[in-house]
Amino acid sequence: MKNLKKKFQFRIHLKSKHLLVIMTFFCGSAVVSTLASGVTSEPLAEAAGMIVVPFEKSIDGIGSWIGEISQTFQDKQELINKNQELQDAVDTLTEQNNILIQNQSELSRLQELYKLDEEYSSYPKVAARIISKDPGNWYDTFMINRGSNDGIRVDNNVISGKGLVGIVTEVGSNWATVRAIIDDSSYVSVMTVGTDDNCVVTGDLELIDEGKLRFSQLYDKDDKVTVGERIVTSNISDKYVEGLFVGYVSELELDTNNLTKTGTIVTPVDFKHLKDVFVITVNKQDAVDSGSTSQEDAAETGQEGTE
């Protein structure tokens, strides 16, 4: 009996090293299997989501409640100053508004030209709130409080009032994770509004502080694209629906190959203080699939007709 006990203890003593090796193999195989064969952790994530997400929602609720309370206790002087500021803002805005009214006719003409407005409003959208963010500092992903129950699917595009925010990467029944376009591993195929030139926008951790994104592979031989050009998601992207506003070109330079240009884009979305977003519940791939099936149908009917 004593001997047995000793044996047992001996085994336990060795175990922590062996455990490490075993778990390393486990993690390694998990990494390899997700990379190589695309095995998803969806069922596990779904189960964990059931435990974690309700808490995150309530913490978020408490946070905003406390925020509201602290707002009611603002200083009087602060409010007076703010009022003054707002009055100034009203003056400048009135002036700007006059200019904007003048621009209105031009704008409506442009909108008609690009049919941006129509397409924006024609996409079915679901409003969602950000309930938690990526725990680390390296990536920019966040979780929203709507999931497959609200019709959200993987690859749905996420926008805010101002422009493109990101894309849904994982979905649970009542939550979804979104990868922001400023995330370092994000790639978006975009085009310029004026000239319809395609290029690729990538997130860059080094530019996040300035609120900028990097773009590359812009082929612009005639130098028509200038600083301030509007950038929207392109028609050839297979993940992003066409015509979502991404930002304005802020820097532009010719590559060493003398053919393509790279530069930076300023995004109008304030990612640090983002709270509410809209999820477009139509995927680009849907349109492609339905388009191809209808074409096939047409082809079939055509064949039948000839027969």
């Binding site: 003593h13 195989s29 913490i59 938690s132 725990p135 680390g136």
Partner: protein
């Protein structure tokens, strides 16, 4: 069994705080790494095996919700917990300096691992920029947070968990 349940809830609570509350107190969009402090503390106070399991499950949670590659963070956190477990029984766990130093080292290793495996390999070569912008600020903030929360973990360990007074975890004690 009791310790396991307490540990499980501590991990869940830390993950929740990490992804919600700590994001709100971020300075310059840098958040401290509470989960790493938990792994280091558990490794230091309870030995290699506890550190390993704590790290594995906290990393797994991060992987499930935010990771692009399943198992990546689990691996890094697991090693952080395991190696801080070597300090178990060499140092007394009621001294704040040891967990602070350990946290700083582990946070550096953690961030270098993330940079090396996920950024360097994608051709993002400016290591010093990332070092100054992300890694060093995060280390300072994390160490500062460790100063506060280590006491809490210490309290949880000594009041809600079974004591781990066995010598078997230490490699330095001759048997």
């Amino acid at each position: 069994m009791k310790s396991k349940i307490v540990l499980f809830f501590t991990i869940i609570v830390c993950f929740l705080l990490q992804s919600t509350l700590l994001q709100k107190i971020a300075i310059g969009s840098i958040t401290p790494n509470l989960l790493l402090i938990l792994c280091v503390s558990m490794g230091l106070m309870r030995g290699r095996k506890s550190g390993l399991w704590t790290g594995f499950f906290s990393g797994l949670l991060v992987d499930l919700f935010y990771g692009s590659v399943f198992g990546f963070y689990a691996l890094i956190y697991m090693y952080a917990g395991f190696f801080s477990g070597y300090a178990f029984r060499i140092y007394y766990d009621d001294d704040i300096k040891v967990p602070m130093a350990l946290t700083a080292i582990m946070d550096l290793i953690y961030n270098l691992a993330v940079y090396g495996l996920q950024f360097f390999l994608r051709g993002r070569l400016g290591i010093f920029k990332y070092l100054y912008r992300i890694i060093i600020p995060e280390i300072f903030y994390t160490v500062f947070l460790a100063l506060i929360v280590y006491k809490i973990f210490y309290y949880i360990n000594h009041h809600f968990m079974n004591a781990t007074r066995k010598e078997r975890e230490s490699i330095w004690v001759l048997k």
